[in-house]
């Protein structure tokens, strides 16, 4: 054991106070606010709103797949538009924005003990540029020709040709512009998240005392800052191809008997750029989820996280490895088999740090004092779902298995489990966990239990059968499959069943939204620290935290974030800002 002298009552001298911006009017307080907490709520509300659009789009898709030919207004073109916008919104405008813009903004300053982000003005700009990106995206629904139907990967050449909905209309232009705006806005926010973790930490908050939530968001942001430029480059180049007739990605093509002006471009180049962003993006969404789930499990099992150091190293390892696996999305593009071998190997290696994390979560639960609160339920559901989705990832990471399965529903099932359902379960768990801090009131427990069970079981009933459909050979990306021999009677029934489950799960989300709004006024009062948690955001003098977060003096950190059930301590948790040594070898304090 390291011998440490307990340091009591150290004056908060060396903590440099920042010049905090103070709002002067209602507008600068709630609308053009520079307070990270307000910006976090703005980000979250916008992301949820656009996420609802994506939810409705998924219903429309399921209407078509479950009951083909019944709904005349869902033409094949419309179906492709739904699929594209659903994917794009979910991955970028909902998950990325909510995890980094929402949770990042709210939690980073509070958890590291800062008064605000280090560049509050840039942070505010980040939100408004994000909102503009969302508005441009939404406007494509009303543009002539509708939104783009190129698939969320926007592969050229089809993305900008007349056969694809929106390809020769406004759809693709608005989509690419919106993405460019999103990346610009994200970069502004991302700089804040990274530099706040680097420079905004309060006294005593060493890197190894950061809660894993901050580690997850921090690493994901660094990755996003390095990965999003690839999407930016791809978008700019495709925009030039579409608007000014260059040939970065467009090969020579004859369309409707007429030779297009493009010549010699490389669609594969786009795929490389896209997936160079696209694969890290999976972990940009997953790492914050990993971090948050670690904290939820530790808090609600009243036990310190197992293998904290290993968890940090695993986060860093995953972050680094995720930049060298991108081409496993391109096995079917006809790449060199040696390349395929290389990328299959790196893909499988990334399972090692990921598995370490899963083991550590389970070992944290082992003999813990598990409280089956809503955040805990969602955290447990996440572990199960993530393992499920991850295992099919091992299938698809192998070239020989991926090639026949690549264009089937199996892939749809895989990525929905691993990067759709799993992170969204964490988002729900996190909202149930931190809502009391944001509003001062608890979310309703009964509605929450209903929401949890319908969502969790329902998601399995939606996506488990899809694995089966995929193994049968049912292809993805098809608007209509009725007449294919592959669509047996049972497959068609299964499709209808999946659709009905999708509507049910969607309905449960409405209950959740109702709960969110209803509880703001009618929820049970939460107090400052309802979960008896150790991290700094629960130790603020006011709940919800006031402007500046921590009263007159910033907290000083004396311990790591996971002092739960310490033998000899009065309570079963010791907040990070409580001095004194409660190590088992010493007398109880």
């Amino acid at each position: 054991m390291v011998d440490v002298t307990p340091a009591d009552a150290i004056p908060p001298a060396e903590v440099g106070e920042v010049e905090l911006y103070h709002p002067h009017s209602w507008w600068t307080k709630y609308v053009f606010s520079q307070d990270a907490k307000v910006i976090a709520v703005q980000y979250s509300a916008t992301a949820t709103a656009i996420g609802l659009v994506a939810l409705v789009l998924s219903w429309l898709m399921r209407l078509q797949l479950g009951f083909p030919g019944t709904f005349d207004f869902i033409t094949p073109e419309a179906y492709y538009q739904f699929i594209t916008m659903h994917g794009m919104i979910m991955v970028i405008y909902l998950l990325t924005a909510l995890f980094l813009g929402g949770f990042g903004n709210y939690l980073i300053p509070l958890m590291v003990g800062a008064r605000d982000m280090v560049f509050p003005y840039v942070n505010m700009l980040s939100y408004w540029v994000y909102l503009l990106a969302v508005l441009v995206l939404v406007s494509s629904f009303f543009a002539p020709g509708g939104p783009t139907g190129a698939g969320w990967t926007l592969y050229p050449p089809q993305a900008i040709m007349s056969g694809t909905p929106g390809g020769q209309d406004w759809g693709i232009i608005l989509m690419l512009s919106s993405l460019i705006l999103f990346i610009v806005g994200f970069t502004m926010g991302g700089l804040n998240y990274v530099v706040t973790v680097l420079q905004g930490r309060t006294r005593g908050m060493t890197l190894m005392r950061l809660p894993l939530t901050v580690w997850g968001i921090f690493t994901a942001t660094v990755m996003a800052l390095l990965a999003f430029p690839a999407l930016f480059v791809a978008c700019v180049m495709m925009l030039l191809d579409r608007v000014l007739g260059t040939s970065f990605f467009m090969p020579a093509i004859v369309e409707m008997g007429a030779q297009l002006q493009h010549n010699g471009g490389s669609p594969i180049l786009f795929q490389h750029l896209f997936w160079f962003f696209g694969h890290p993006e999976v972990y940009i969404v997953a790492l914050p989820a990993f971090g948050i789930v670690s904290d939820l499990i530790s808090t609600h099992a009243r036990k310190n996280i197992f293998g904290y150091r290993m968890m940090v190293w695993a986060i860093l390892a995953i972050g680094a490895l995720s930049f060298v696996v991108w081409a496993h999305h391109m096995y079917v593009s006809g790449m060199n088999p040696y390349f395929g071998f290389f990328f299959a190997t790196t893909t499988l290696i990334i399972a090692v740090p990921t598995a370490i994390k899963v083991y550590n979560w389970v070992l944290t639960l082992w003999r813990g004092d598990i409280h089956l609160t809503l955040p805990m339920l969602f955290a447990l559901a996440f572990i199960v779902t993530f393992v499920n989705g991850g295992l099919t990832g091992l299938f698809l990471g192998n070239v020989v298995v991926d090639v026949p399965l690549s264009d089937t529903m199996f892939v749809v099932a895989h990525f929905h489990m691993v990067m759709g359902v799993a992170p969204i379960l964490v988002i729900f768990g996190a909202i149930y966990h931190w809502y009391p801090k944001v509003t001062g009131r608890m979310l309703d427990e009964t509605l929450g239990k209903f929401h949890f069970w319908v969502t969790f079981v329902g998601a399995y009933l939606i996506f488990f059968p899809m694995h089966y459909l995929g193994l049968m050979g049912v292809p993805r990306r098809y608007a209509e499959l009725t007449d294919m021999t592959i669509m047996t009677e049972s497959a068609r029934h299964l499709n209808s069943f999946i659709s009905i489950m999708a509507f049910t799960v969607g309905f449960a989300q409405m209950v959740f939204l109702f709960n969110l709004i209803w509880s703001i006024r009618h929820g049970r009062g939460a107090g400052g620290n309802p979960w008896r948690a150790t991290t700094l955001e629960w130790q603020t003098p006011q709940t919800p935290p006031a402007h500046g977060n921590f009263g007159k003096e910033l907290p000083i950190v004396y311990r790591w974030a996971y002092d739960y059930s310490v033998p000899g301590a009065k309570e079963d948790f010791i907040p990070q800002n409580v001095p004194g040594d409660f190590a088992p070898s010493r007398e109880p304090a």
């Binding site: 440490v4 340091a7 908050m205 390095l226 260059t246 311990r559 002092d563 004194g580 040594d581």
Partner: protein, 234 residues
């Protein structure tokens, strides 16, 4: 994609070096109190704004590495016809070097507290940078006048794209330079002014470095260099 991977390797090396100084092997569960007072393990002594700019420049570097990667991949296809670089670009390069030097002089002056020399440096940097941008536009006009249009060959497309992107970044830098200059003339606090000038200089030096790289790339020397390296390796 090798260029971007090399760039990321550099970033990873830097991150690894930084992390290795952060006691990532500490056992936080055993260390209560302000144990040994982790001076040096808290925040960096550098000003926060400089670190922020550093992170931003890493993103900018990433962006241009990706353009370079795309350039090399597209270059390998048969329809690539390199375009002759206008000799004006040499002059522009000189002008940009001048603006970087001027800003460096401003930094030195700001450290010594010579406000007149700071103003002189900032003004020179502003004018030379504007001259660079005008020069780039003239180079574009010259090329379009000679029939090297944006869409007529991928080499041309990349030329306009990359120089345009670089120009936009320079243009964005002018906003920061403008704000610094306003501060310099309206009597900003000396330490604040010094920081602003240093930030401008940092940005300019980096964009000069980026320009030298893409100049080498567009002129074809970068490809020759890589070719030689590859031959040496095989």
């Amino acid at each position: 994609m090798s260029v971007i991977l090399v760039f990321l390797l550099v970033i990873a090396g830097f991150a690894g070096w930084w992390l290795s100084h952060q006691r990532l092997t500490a056992k936080p569960w055993l260390e209560q109190g302000l144990a040994g007072d982790f001076v040096g393990f808290d925040r960096s002594a550098l000003p926060t704004a400089k670190i922020g700019l550093g992170v931003f420049l890493a993103v900018v570097g990433c962006l241009f590495s990706l353009f370079t990667s795309a350039y090399f991949m597209r270059m390998g296809l048969p329809d690539w016809q390199p375009l002759p670089l206008p000799r004006l670009l040499w002059l522009n390069t000189g002008v940009l070097v001048l603006s970087s030097v001027a800003l460096q002089c401003a930094v030195v002056a700001a450290r010594k507290g010579q406000i007149d020399n700071v103003r002189l440096g900032l003004a020179t940097a502003g004018f030379t940078t504007l001259a660079f941008l005008v020069g780039q536009l003239m180079a574009w006009r010259q090329l379009t006048g000679d029939g090297y249009l944006l869409a007529s060959n991928p080499a041309n497309s990349f030329f306009y794209l990359i120089t345009g992107m670089h120009g936009l970044h320079i243009f964005g830098g002018l906003v920061g330079l403008g704000r610094t200059s306003i501060g310099a003339w309206n009597g900003a606090r000396p330490e604040r002014l010094r920081l602003s000038v240093e930030l401008c200089a940092m940005y300019w030096h980096f964009l000069l470095f980026v320009w030298l790289c893409i100049f080498a790339l567009l002129a074809g020397w970068a490809a020759t260099f890589i070719d030689i390296c590859q031959r040496l390796l095989t």
